[in-house]
């Protein structure tokens, strides 16, 4: 089986972001960028399937500006075999991303497409589901376990009431949740080796996809600040506060 993994370059999840005072967006200049954490779990899942002899080739694709090459290299160092950068300097909407990925799926014809469940910058949680719709494939989102069962997959998903296991035929689209696995940190020799793996760059404009945004972002604003409160000195004081608060609630 061939696996395609989609990875996104985002502001590192440990960075406390700053909203630009003019409301035009979030400051990304000079900010540390890295692979979206959920995508790391997707790459790790692919590599583990390959190690278990259930996949022969792992292709990684990222859509973004030239520096997105870095997250492809990270995936190659983790064990993916070849990379595709779909280059664009525009901030594309998830629908356009899904359409570009659908073109790559048509070319590569992978048995399984793995994505992260959400990108931690836009927090959309769209692309896997959209790609599944555009390619007419079944989907299993928010995966915490993936088993290959001959002709199909058994995927355990995290849902509102607990967990649910789906059986689905291949080809399919699966999005990774954080409990799927523990992504490896590639050792230096792998990082060096990644640089010699095949990596092609193609322009997003060459796919014949309408990339124009459908939504207008009017502004980006900071959330309301919370005021620091006070520290109480005893459990009794805390209990009195809670009891008071709760009785007011009931009066509502």
């Amino acid at each position: 089986m061939k696996i395609l993994v989609a990875v996104k370059r985002v502001v590192d999840h440990n960075v406390r972001i700053r909203v630009r005072p003019d409301g035009s967006g979030v400051e990304t200049n000079g900010v540390r960028m890295s692979m979206n954490p959920f995508c790391k779990h997707a790459v790790e899942a692919a590599v583990q399937l390959a190690e278990a002899g259930q996949a022969e080739e792992i292709v990684v694709v990222s859509i973004g500006p030239k520096p997105a090459t870095d997250v492809i290299l990270t995936a190659l160092a983790m064990g993916a075999h070849r990379g595709i950068l779909v280059e664009t300097d525009a901030e594309l909407e998830t629908l356009a991303i899904a359409k570009l990925l659908a073109k790559i799926v048509a070319e590569e014809n992978p048995g399984l497409v793995l994505l992260g469940k959400q990108a931690v910058d836009d927090d959309s949680n769209h692309v896997g589901q959209m790609l599944a719709a555009l390619t007419g494939r079944p989907q299993a989102t928010f995966a915490s376990e993936i088993k290959v069962t001959g002709t199909g997959l058994e995927v355990t998903r995290e849902v509102d009431s607990g967990r649910q296991t789906l059986s689905l035929p291949l080809p399919a689209v699966v999005t990774a949740d954080l409990r799927l696995n523990t992504p490896r940190n590639a050792a230096l020799p792998q990082v060096m080796k990644a640089r010699s793996k095949p990596l092609v760059t193609r322009s997003a404009a060459d796919f014949g996809v309408d990339l124009a945004p459908r939504l207008t972002v009017e502004k980006i604003s900071p959330p309301l600040e919370r005021m620091a409160g006070k520290t109480v000195g005893s459990v009794a004081e805390l209990a009195a506060f809670i009891a008071g608060d709760v009785s007011q609630m009931e009066a509502l």
Binding site: H13, R16, I17, V26, T94, L95, Q118, V120, D122, D123, S124, N125, H126, V127, Q129, M130, A132, A133, P138, Q139, T141, F142, E154, E158, V159, D160, S161, G162, R163, Q164, T165, L166, L168, P169, D177, L178, R179, L215, T216, V217, E218, K219, I220, S221, P223, R226, G229, T231, V232, S234, V235, A236, E237, L238, A239, F241, I242, A243, D245, M249
Partner: protein, 314 residues
Amino acid sequence: MAVLILADHDLGTLSPSAPRIVHAVAELGPVDVLVLGEGIGQVAEAAATIAGVAKVLVGQGAGFAAPVADASAALLETLAERYHYVVMSAGASGRELMPRLAARLDLMPVTDVVAILGPNRFERPIYAGNALQTVTSNQPKHILTLRASAFRAAASGNAAPIEPIDVSGISSAAKVIASHRTQSDTPDLATAQIVVGGGIAVGSAEGFQLIESLAKKLGAAIGATRAAVDAGYAPNDWQVGQTGKIIAPDLYIAIGISGALQHLAGIQGAKKIIAINSDAEAPLVKLADIALIGDLFEIIPQLISELDKTGLKR
């Protein structure tokens, strides 16, 4: 500008998010509610009582006993023709379904909406809630998910007509083969009035029983951090945060929780926050309305007995 809401339900009960979603979209146009499943007569009746609902559509069939995204999206695609808005709560089902539906209709969805500013203007958080995005959409239709916790519930007392719809002929390639549900009689986390949350400091699944007894005492729902869930102290559906559930209770009591960015993403809507932590410098202590510094294993049992003394009943 008609609105169709696909309502969540579980174990034959309509989700408490439903009246909130109805209330949120009531000004956009006449609201129909769709319920999909098997043996969901009571769910439909509950939906019909929500003020502002024009009509309840019921799709019952074996194929929807445990609905799977591809089938539900295919059905919604046929219904969407008659509506300007198709809306779900931003729970796990809405998140997996609405983007799939939107792509089939060649639309860009607007998800996790926390404020509806006009017929085509919406506000949604990005970057784990550290920024808010205001968007306008000039598309012919709007596919939305709303964070139920951000909206007030509609009143009840309505008796909207209930109409069956034909769902035969819609099937799904994926099948649900097992469900592992969390047994708990505590309130729904996403809409609870009080939530008691425990972090990794609780130390074990047994330790979490301490959190549960305090929650019981207060009639509260139970939340957990990702660290506590990863460690196996709490089930995954209790996780609160960027990747878990978004809560907006009147009172959130955070116990042994540091207050990482990704956890704070889930609690920004809380009216009051109490932090119990051994570290006075923990980020959550810094933004709590009330903090008590100390060891949770000493504090919680004392707190329960102090609350007993106040005669508090819920």
